[in-house]
Symmetry: C2
Subunit: 423 residues, 2 copies
Amino acid sequence: MQMDDMILVSIDDHMIEPPDMYKNHVPAKWQDAVPKVVKNANGVDEWHFQGSATSTPFGMAATVGWPREEWGFNPGSYSELRPGCFDVHERVRDMNANGVLAQMNFPTMAGFNARTFTESEDKEIALVMLRGYNDWAIDEWAAAYPGRFIPQGIVPMWDVDRAVEEVHRLGKKGCRSISFPETPHVQGFPSFLSGHWDPVLQAICDENMVLSLHIGAGFEVIRRPQEAPIDHLMVLATQISAITAQDLLFGPTLRRFPALRVALSEGGIGWVPFYLERIDRHFTNQTWLHGGEDFGGKLPSEVFREHFLVCYISDPSGLELRHRIGIDIIAWECDYPHTDTTWPESPEFAWKELQDAGCADEDVHKITWQNACRFFDWDPFAHTPREQATVGALRALATDVDTTRMSRTEWKARNEAAGIGVV
Amino acid sequence: MQMDDMILVSIDDHMIEPPDMYKNHVPAKWQDAVPKVVKNANGVDEWHFQGSATSTPFGMAATVGWPREEWGFNPGSYSELRPGCFDVHERVRDMNANGVLAQMNFPTMAGFNARTFTESEDKEIALVMLRGYNDWAIDEWAAAYPGRFIPQGIVPMWDVDRAVEEVHRLGKKGCRSISFPETPHVQGFPSFLSGHWDPVLQAICDENMVLSLHIGAGFEVIRRPQEAPIDHLMVLATQISAITAQDLLFGPTLRRFPALRVALSEGGIGWVPFYLERIDRHFTNQTWLHGGEDFGGKLPSEVFREHFLVCYISDPSGLELRHRIGIDIIAWECDYPHTDTTWPESPEFAWKELQDAGCADEDVHKITWQNACRFFDWDPFAHTPREQATVGALRALATDVDTTRMSRTEWKARNEAAGIGVV
């Protein structure tokens, strides 16, 4: 097996919703109320919803085309972005150039977990717009290229009954995953342990979907010093995946829902062996706390492996210890268009780490596509024959894609000249 | 090399202060004000200080002699404990039976970080008692058996000037370490990043001592769900060591004090490779945040290895990845008399893990004593010739030590009949 023989399915990437996303997905009577992109006095494109600016989905969320020195939290305009951020046709060309067969996208304007709608005042309108987002993400973005996107949706966090309905509605249209906050209790919601979310989790199981918990949403779970630099957020985000796993595993959730599948999106994998050894030693040592049947006669690590998919972008230690983690629960990610993405050299980057760790071909296939496809119950070859799904075959389609990093100024000049991303 | 050839120096164990600890260490005029052990109506031995019960140092803190089913947070009496918990002569016999040459102890009644004194009202008296604790710990407990204990002290957290004085006073009597809270900002103190503690850290450097940050003190750094079971505290405690390292490494502390040495006591080691890879990738990827000189031209992982000693009781994954951690910064621990201790089979337990990980003899020596002795600048053979310091030699001195676990009731009957631990 060579690098070009790999098949890459990434279950963690992001779309920057385009300004016209609501055109086809909200009834006419609500069109005035849809979130709109407005250019402010400083030339920054802001999303406005229910009377206030809700997000400027640029800066750190869409750095893929820029040199590192230009990264930062400073907002900008659509025209400064690499068009693959918000244009699905360009996205697929960028996927081809990177040898990626398929990806699953998380929202930006809408918030990983529908935050924009949860924080808005009029919840009737918010629900319409949340559904509109889901319809756009699934029926327009993902459906534009069958077989290239694993459809994912969000649910109204403010109303469990409506959330259950939305899960079922999404299930009917082939959605494979719900993006949900990793530690809802730090965002003012009841915790996973409370039982409050059980109807939603039941619906997700009933629809055979995955609960995807992306890092970042739960950052406030760590009380950091007031003087902490921004590095803390970026470095420690993956520590929270272990805390999330603990909430689900030692709370009642996973035992209550034996069919629940949880992806710890962008959580990394190198912490897993240490965590699994610790929980097993804890369980077998602190017998005064646990009857032997607490985990159905299993070790907590076994229950972990039955429920979780752990996901990484770069993780040499985790790959070296892949058999301590479980070779069937590891999935690779691309994270386009965020700062941590390895685009456009993902095949080179992933292949080197896999080879350095001594992965057999079988391990490579499990990690780069088989585990993800099994976990999300998604057939990668339904629309693309296997021989056309490889890194080499996809890259052969994209020899004309220019992957050069360019300054924001240069993107703006080029895009505006071509009428791209102009608000 | 065989198991019996190992030399074991543990830098994380605990003493249960005996009721008469203040007899020789507080001037006569303060004797009425010393913390005292009082048996309450339920037969529980409580420490009383400044008019209130401050701690009952039993239950989970001294389970070493009990069967697992009897562990728990329920307090009890001194007479229920294995005498090695509070009697230094019995402690050394228990160390011999376990093949342990030397150990460093953390306080119980006093709190890992002088909490009992910090929370008391009269700070003049509190300072007298804190110093009395230090004098007892160093001049009485540790001095009773030269070469068997690495002396450690605590400082008055409520007054930086007094803390600096205490560090210097302790330095003069050969103290090697200060026990300090891992995340002071969650306990109402200024953070490490604030600069508030810099005079104390400078004094620790000036006295060539180690800053020992034991897990547990900082648990509130994690906002856990209100329904979280007690398992969370036990399992997640080591996740906080990574957060502590982050505070010190990405805050100004370690760069401001190039000579500062920090032991992450009981923090585990299996999380370290993942953390080091993540901080190096963060540093080299997020160049917009950092000039190349932020870590003096080094990678953050290199600075980590210059300052930290990482410590473990049981850690198969961490040992397998020891060269990714740094073979010179790993130290083994015993944790007597807490629930996680491997006593009295520590040699068997440690040897098996070291051999399973494929450690060469040289690695074994580094991990079991050389790294700790270098880091704490403490000569293990000053009082014990090397050939008498091994597991085999020490165990040969202790063939009469009965290591059987017994119920609390049985300990009470035996101890009270012998007049041991009677309050």
